[in-house]
Amino acid sequence: MAEKAILYDATRCTACRGCQALCKEWNENDEVIPAVQGGVKERNRGSYENPKDLSTRTWLKIGFNEVEHYDKLDWLFSRRACMHCTDAACVKVCPTGALYRDEAYGIVAYNKDICSGCGYCADFCPFDVPRLDGNRILGKNKMDKCVLCTQPGLNRLEIKQEPACVKTCPTKALVFGDRDTLVATARQKVAALKAKGFTNATFYGEKELGGLHVLYVLNDTPDKYGLPVDPKFPSTATAWQDIIQPLGWTVGGLTLLGLAFNFIIAREAKMTKELPGKAGKGGKKHVAE
């Protein structure tokens, strides 16, 4: 099966946040708005952007960026959720295998049952996406993030349906399909934008982290959309998983082997010393030296 992807065309997005709402509805992540008498307990943050951040119950949100855009102030919208990297740092550091690369779709799938709550995925994600919830003092947590609608029992891909966010998008800013096809589409779109005079137009996600499975058509540079310009696989993840951990096994193994070796030699030497008659030569030689 060909790898799948979502293409987000920022130039078509109206920030209606239907994707945000249906993501919650489909994945049973109800939002609770703390209520007080006569209203809600919520503060104005000076933006239409809501909620404030991703959370274990908000796997997708639309960002509202007020930025200088070709010499005038503009409002640029951007989709924020798991990018489903090919070289996913979270998969690399996940100690239980709860996060894994789904070979069929190419996405970062998640087996929530075996999540230990360590939060390494959150520490190492170049996009700051995974969120944890639980008891910080006890360390009893569970992580959550977008799984591209592959939750067990709520798996849309399995029944050949597009993810919920794509399904609900009224402007077709979100499209789901084979990644190769979408890459070609995105290239065309960016070329068209450039021809129209949007010289900074960017196709984001083709090469980043080995290729993202959420592709972006942007008509300005990624930083204007709150995206990291050059996201990198964290070198600490490589150093930790590919160098230190194998080294750890080697050091531990060699230590045990060395001790066993020492024991054999030292016991022999001691016996020789104590009973010089039995294997006298060796013992005497040592004493003489």
Binding site: P95, G117, R136, G252, L259
Partner: protein
Amino acid sequence: MSQSKAVVQKYARATRLLHHIHTAAFIILFITGLVLFIPQLGFLAQDSWTRIVHRLAAVVFIVAPIVYLVMKPKAALRAVADACTWGTEDVGWLKAAPRYYFLCDEEGMPAQGHMNTGQKLWWFLVIVFGAVFIVTGLVMWFLKTVAPAGLLQWMVFAHDVAFIVTGAMVFVHVYLGVIHPMMTEAWQAISKGTVSEEYAKSHHGLWYHEQVKEENTAPPPEPKEVVEVH
């Protein structure tokens, strides 16, 4: 004093207690941490079980030495000072160690103090990596949501390095304490607190003779109480 069964006290009761409590905490921390090295054992970490146990053991690991430091400040500081005092006998130990530990050849081994050079090295390891464990662990535990991700990455890394170094060296420590053919009474020293005079003379000569000197200038009490210990 020349009776073969005479014993001297090597480690006081409080010291031994600290050793055993700290060891128990370390073993629990070691096993619950090792789970993260073996994906096949990941199921043990499910629902954060090992993480909760790891935290409980961490509290013991941190609190036990502090309690000891508060209750026995003199002994604790003297032990640290002991480990930091290096002399010619330590250079001699390093030179003679390979022959001693492999060939049981005591010839070149200079007389040692209360802690021999190997024990001093182990002490350094415990202090340095104990501090690394505690600092990096506390950051990961309490500053998870506050600290920048880059810092947390390095905390995980440093915690792992400390785990590997101490994990490997703890095998050496246990081996030398209870398995190596020459260390006949090291286990007795830490479990019962005493070693025979013979063992004290041959393994910790400098310390033994200092004790004898002290004893000769003071009225002779029972052998078990002769030695002021930490």
